[in-house]
Structure formats: structure tokens, C-alpha cells
Symmetry: C3
Subunit: 327 residues, 3 copies
């Protein structure tokens, strides 16, 4: 909880509305959350202002606000920069990590603990887990029954891992995502990430994978999904149940992958896409648009797999064809 | 050693043949190994049954077995699932890792040991090695003379590393591979991996590489081969002598790469291929079929390198050509 | 400082010139450095010999040297192999790492130190840094004010990091690069790397990135540049200010990237290129030649982005076109 006057002071803003309330945390503008704070990034998001459940909204000075809003407004010079400042403040308030180590952990006797394991405050581990050597677990993580964490894995705060999962060596779960705000001088500001990662039951994460936490909400890996090594998952990604993700795949931020999808090795998916149920993506494909349910795509850029094969056959005949046509 | 009756009980199967024998470990059906157990995955593997050296073979109930087999058969509902169960049992029997740490190690005085190094049971280190800080070495690993392991490397059990090798920071050697068995409900079961990794003399592995161990046998990296960073090697891969593997290359499971091959950066090779001696694979190529001895291929999918260059030249003229043809 | 007679003995060479001087370290032949030693790799580098600032130069026996050189020459059978031997000797002289740990460090009271942190000799940390658990910092590293190093990061010796940087979990900074010398028997010798990595102020490095140190000089990441996860940067690379480098990008050795460049996810750039100011490289692109200031390229191989879109549209019509033409 941070008092609105403290936030106002930090942001050098003006309050329009209730000056005596405590802000619980950040939320998105679209849905919002009672007691929480959001912001209007661009004028196209103004439409969400009247109906958001957020209690406080940061807006640019230059924007004309509708009368009789139920939300409290903080007017600032630059709402994006101001929200980053708020997130940094919020993030530090959360951060007992820096104060002390290991208070109030729940570690059952059935846990196998390797050497040099670091477990931060308020971590909860269920029965029959293996936490191998040199693993780091940030505060408030929850780890389900029978889950195995291999050596040298880093798990950042607030991560939730289900039952019977395997997280293989040197993977990083829940690091902050690649969200940047670029100001008018071309300087890039890293947006603090206060969300988390949720890994459901029976998931396997390969060696040296990186799964970023959500900006405000969660990055989610669904039940039974299996990853090979060196997979990268951006912030706010959702992956459904029983997917297969092969080695060196990269998934851009906020992309949504539905149940039973197969992603071939080294394939790449840009941000904000939908890959629907049972789709198959061939190895080394480059996905720049949504992929339909049950379809099989491949190539760079990816198209229907059969068409891609045909295309490649014709391309192999192209030199000959070109010669003929040139005549 | 696990007695066959214990295995039968675990698998809920019926024994046809010798009911009083101890099973040493798993083996493949094709060659087999005396005293060991294998299984028939699909009916096309039945042809190996009569001549395999395996002493015990798990088969589906539904399969008709030839009479007078010298091998003992265990009949089960689903041979694939049953073999996974056996491997899990075998794997736990092997796993003294969880009982205690560091008994019976062989660490000569000439070894440089960094801080927080974890060395498990029965590890053998030869003279003049450097094992840097935060390295984890699983049980029964063997490390040859003069080899250097950089900080934060994870080396899993049974790995064998030759003389004068360099394993650079944060690499993972010998984690379990990406072998899945998908049942009729679409649930993917991870197949336990009881093989290992063998790295021969004078090999260099870059930073943050991942090399998976064999399912039953070994993943092998040949003498003098050099890896750049972030290379991924799947289970059961064989790489020959003096190969050059550039950064971010991915090699699919069971692929065989012969001597003196060069793999360009970010290239990807699917599983079960053969890349013959002295072949060169251009950077960012995608290899979907065998590559001949001494040939130079590139592109996605990869073709002869000269043809690929020609193809790209013609492609650059395509818009113009298309315009003319449309007329 | 190593006396020239010791070097001569090691290299089994002959000195032409001053036999009584101490060699400070290695340098490149093109510019050279007073008191230092370089070598002539191939005859095309002979043109630099007369004007180099290097005090000592190793050359092949077979080369005819100009008379009245101010530099001292060491004649050897194979200059490349000899220089590798010298670098190994120099590298060992530098390497107090193996003698003891943690003497003479500068760690202010304001530093947050996690558990199991390893800090080698002569490391200098400025105020208000966070060095999280299981981090390894090699000797003589310098870390600027307010910089945060997340868990399980490896930072090799002589790395210089500026103010307010973030180095995320499991990244490796300053490991030796992928420089090989292949002798006439096809054996590849790893060239020792005695340069370092310099990271300027306000840089963010994602999780599981690998940034190799320079062969003799520095690999440089400019002020304000931000990396996503699993990025690979080869030795001797220069990256300018405020660049954005997305996930799983690979940058080949000695490539120079100027200010404000954007590199899309999974793109790859071969070695020794120039990517000029404000250029944009699309995701999964393959860059094989220099990219002009302000241009936007994409594809494999990359061409002008608009042309690439056009090309892909025409390619999608190719089967139809081919059918018509075949008639």
C-alpha cells in the first residue's frame, strides 16, 4: 500500500478527485482493479477511462478529462514515464529480497535440498520436491508436489510452479521482460515488471530456457506442456495445455498459444499473435500472423506447409525457368 | 540389478520365459545387450526380436510372439509406457545423488578448485584440471587431464570428458533429452534418459551451450571439435573429429555429423540426418536431408550453396520479371 | 612484463634487433602499441610492418624483412602458432585468479551482496550496486554505481561495467571468443583472448546472454543499449548508443553496429560488417552485407524491407504463375 500523496509527490503531478486513498498496486486500464492505479498511454486508450475498475489513473496534462469521473486522476507531464516511476516505487516496496534472506520459508522434510541452494522469504515448497545445487528461488515462490529443479536454475520472486514439473539446469524463470518506453530523445527506459510466471502441473522446461514474467499480470505455461532447451518466452505470453515446444524457439511478448500446439525447433513467433489449437509450426519457421486451428504452417514467412513445399520445388526450378524466359 | 519379478510387478505384465533373472539395465532392440531389457515400440521393430542380444523384451499384449524364442518376454498393455516405467525405476536405482554428496571422489592435489564447487559421488578428476566456482558435477563423471570447467557450468552424472577440453561458463552437459511418448489422450510422457555424454580430447564447448545425454547410449562429441556459444545438441547425436560449430546452432536428436564438418551460425539440422565428412553448412541454413561429403550447402531449406546464390539473384529480379510477364 | 629472451626461447625463434627489452603485452599490427608485441599473419599484413607502433613483431621465417626497421623482429617457423603460444604465456602471467581469491577488493557498505557470491582479486564495485546470489566476478572487474547483477551471472576478468546497468540472470560476460587457427593438419587451435568487455552506462543485458571478450582489444556495448534474452555477441564487436537488440539475436565477431539500431528477434549478422545509424533489421533476418544508415531490411538474405514484402507476395503467386507458364 502506498498513499496517493506519496505517488503524487514522486510524479510531480496534480490530483483531480480523492486525495486520501492508499494504492494497492498497478493494473491495466482495460479491465482495471479496485484500489489499483493505471495510466493512459495514448489517446486511443481514453475510451477505457470511464469504465475501468482502476481507482486511480495517470494521464497526460494535455488531455481533457470527462467531468464527474468516479476515478481519481493524477495529471502529469508524461503519463508513460510517470507510470514507470510508480512501478519502480512499487517494485521497491515489494522488494524485501534486499533486507534479509530466508525468513518464513515452508520446506517439508521430504524435500531434497542440494548444496548452496538460496531460498528467499516466504517461499512455499510442497512435499517430495528436489531442489538441486546452486538453485536460486526468489521470495514468495510456490512450488508444487514432486517438482524437480535442476542445478543452477534461477527462479525469480512470485513464480508459481505446479505439481510434478521439471525445470532443467541453468534456466531462468520470471526475469523482467523486454518492455521499453522510448522517450522523445531516443532514450529507452526499461519498464519495471511486477507480474509473475505461472507454470501449471506436469510441465517440463528444458535447460537454459528463459521465461519472462508478465508486465503487470502473469506469463502462463499450461498443464502438461513440454519445452526442449534454449527456448525463449517473452512477457505476458500464454501457452495452453500439452503443447510441444522444440529447442531454440522464440515467442514474442503477449502472444497466445492454445492447447496441443507443436512449435518446431528454431521457429520464431512475433508478439501479440494467436496460435490456435492443434496447430503445427514447422522448424525454423517465422510466424508473423495468426495461425488457424489445426493448420500446419512452415517457411519464412510461414505459409501453409504444403504450399511451402510446392513453393520450394518451383524455386528449385526457377533458374532453368528464368533462362528460358530470358530468351 | 533389478529382479525380473519386480519389473513384472511394476509393469503389471506377464512373463513368457525365464522368471528368475536379474536385469542389468536398458538397451536398444536393434543390437541389444546380454542381461539387459528392451521393448518393441511398433510392429516394424518386431523383425529385430529374434536376433537381439537383449535378454528380456517388453511387448504389447496384442502381438503374436514367435515360438521358441531364446529371449524372455514381458507382455504388457502398452510397451512404450511400460518401458518408460522401467526406465524410471532403473533411473532411481542409479540415483545415489539424492543420498549423500561427495563420497569417494578422486581429486588430485594439482586440481584448481573454485568456490562453491559441488562434486558428487565417485567423480574422477585427472591431473592439472581447473574446476571453477559454482560448477556442479554429477556422480560418476570422469574428467581428463588439463581440462578446464568455467564458472556456473552444470555437468550431469556419468559424463565423460577427455583431456585438455574447455567447457565455458553456464553450459549444461548431459541433461536429459527431449524424448516424449504421446499417449492416445494427447498427454506427453517424458522418456527417462539413462545414457550419457562423452566428450573426447581437445574439445571446446562455448558458453551457455546445452548438450543432452543419450536416451540409452551416448551423445558423443569427437576429438578436437570446437563449439561457439549457445549451441544446442539433442540426445544421441554423434559429432566427429575437428568439426567447427558456430554460435546458436541447433542439432536435432540422433543426427550424425562426420569429421571436419563446419556448421555456420544459427543453422539448424533436423533429427536423424547424416552430415558427411568435410561438408560446410552456411550460416542460418535449415537442413532437412543428408548432406554429401565435401559439399557446401546454404539457405532455408538448404540447397547447394552456388545454386542458392543464383536463386537469390533471380529472386531479386523477380518483381521486374513478374511485371513483364503480367503484361 | 615478459623479457624478449624468454619469449624467443618459448617460440624457438631468432631475434633480429634489440635483444634486451621487456614486452608489456600483445597488440594488433595495424595500429600497434609501444612496448607491445604483434605478428604478421599473412603476407598481406606486411604493409603494416614499417609503420606499426608495436615494438616487437613475430614473422614467418620465409618472409623477407625490410632493412633498417625500428621494430624488433622474432623469426619463427609459423607466426600464427607462435603468437598463440605467446598469448598463452601472457594469459598465465595475468592469471592470479588461480593463486588466491578475494584480495584487495573494493566493496562499499552500500552494496547488496547475495549468498555465495564470488569476487576475485582487485575487483572495484561502486556505491549502491546489487550483486545477487551465486554471481561470479573475475579479477580486476570494475562495476559502476547503481548497477544490478542478477543471480547466477558469470563475469570474467577485466570486464568494465558502467553506471545503472542491469545484467540479468545466467548471462556470461567476457568469456573468450571463438577465434581459431587451423593448422595444415586440419587441427583447430583456440586463440587465447586477452582483451575484455566494456559495457557503458544504462545498458541492460537480458537473461542467458553471452558476450565474448575481445581478442586483444575490447568488445564494447554503448550507453543506453538494451538487450533482450539469449543474445550472442562475438569477440571484438562494437555496439553504439541506444540500440535495441531483441531475443536470440546473434552478432558475428568484429561487426560494428552504430547508434540507435534496432535488431529484430532471432536475426543473425555475420562477422566484420557495419550496420549504420538508425538502421532497422527485421526479425529472423540474415545479414550478409553492410546496412545503410536509416534503412530497414528484412529476409534471408536480407534486402530492403518493402522489396522483401513485394518478393513474398510474388512468391505466393508463383505456383499459379508457374502453371500458366508451363502451358
Amino acid at each position: 500500500m502506498i498513499h496517493i500523496l506519496k505517488v503524487k509527490e514522486l510524479l510531480d503531478g496534480k490530483i483531480v478527485g480523492n486525495e486520501d486513498l492508499n494504492i494497492e498496486g498497478p493494473c491495466s486500464i482495460k479491465d482495471g482493479k479496485k484500489g489499483c492505479i493505471s495510466y493512459i498511454k495514448e489517446s486511443k486508450y481514453l475510451k477505457y477511462l470511464e469504465n475501468t475498475n482502476a481507482s486511480v489513473v495517470i494521464v497526460d496534462d494535455s488531455i481533457t478529462i470527462p467531468l464527474n469521473l468516479k476515478q481519481t486522476i493524477i495529471k502529469v507531464k508524461n503519463a508513460s514515464i510517470a507510470f514507470i516511476s510508480y512501478l519502480n516505487l512499487y517494485s521497491k516496496h515489494q522488494n524485501s529480497d534486499l533486507l534479509n534472506i530466508g525468513s518464513n520459508p515452508q520446506i517439508p522434510d521430504s524435500t531434497y535440498l542440494g548444496e548452496n541452494v538460496i531460498i528467499n522469504n516466504d517461499v512455499k515448497i510442497s512435499n517430495d520436491c528436489e531442489i538441486h545445487s546452486n538453485v536460486y528461488i526468489g521470495e514468495k515462490c510456490i512450488i508444487g508436489e514432486g517438482t524437480i529443479i535442476r542445478p543452477n536454475v534461477t527462479i525469480h520472486k512470485n513464480t508459481i510452479i505446479g505439481k510434478n514439473c521439471k525445470i532443467k539446469s541453468n534456466s531462468v524463470i520470471g526475469s523482467s521482460g523486454f518492455g521499453l518506453y522510448s522517450d522523445s530523445n531516443g532514450v529507452h527506459h526499461h519498464i519495471p515488471h511486477v507480474g509473475n510466471v505461472i507454470i501449471e502441473d506436469d510441465v517440463m522446461i528444458g535447460s537454459s530456457c528463459t521465461i519472462d514474467r508478465g508486465t503487470i499480470n502473469s506469463t502462463i505455461i499450461g498443464k502438461g506442456t513440454k519445452f526442449d532447451n534454449q527456448v525463449h518466452v517473452g512477457h505476458n505470453v500464454y501457452i495452453g495445455m500439452n503443447c510441444i515446444v522444440c529447442a531454440q524457439v522464440g515467442i514474442g511478448g503477449s502472444t497466445k498459444i492454445y492447447d496441443n500446439v507443436i512449435l518446431g525447433g528454431q521457429s520464431g513467433i512475433i508478439d501479440n499473435l494467436h496460435i490456435y489449437e492443434n496447430a503445427i509450426i514447422g522448424p525454423k519457421s517465422f510466424i508473423v500472423k495468426n495461425v488457424d486451428k489445426g493448420s500446419y504452417v512452415s517457411g519464412n514467412p510461414a505459409i501453409n506447409h504444403k504450399d511451402n513445399i510446392k513453393k520450394n520445388i518451383i524455386l528449385s526450378k526457377l533458374p532453368e525457368l528464368y533462362k528460358k524466359l530470358s530468351k
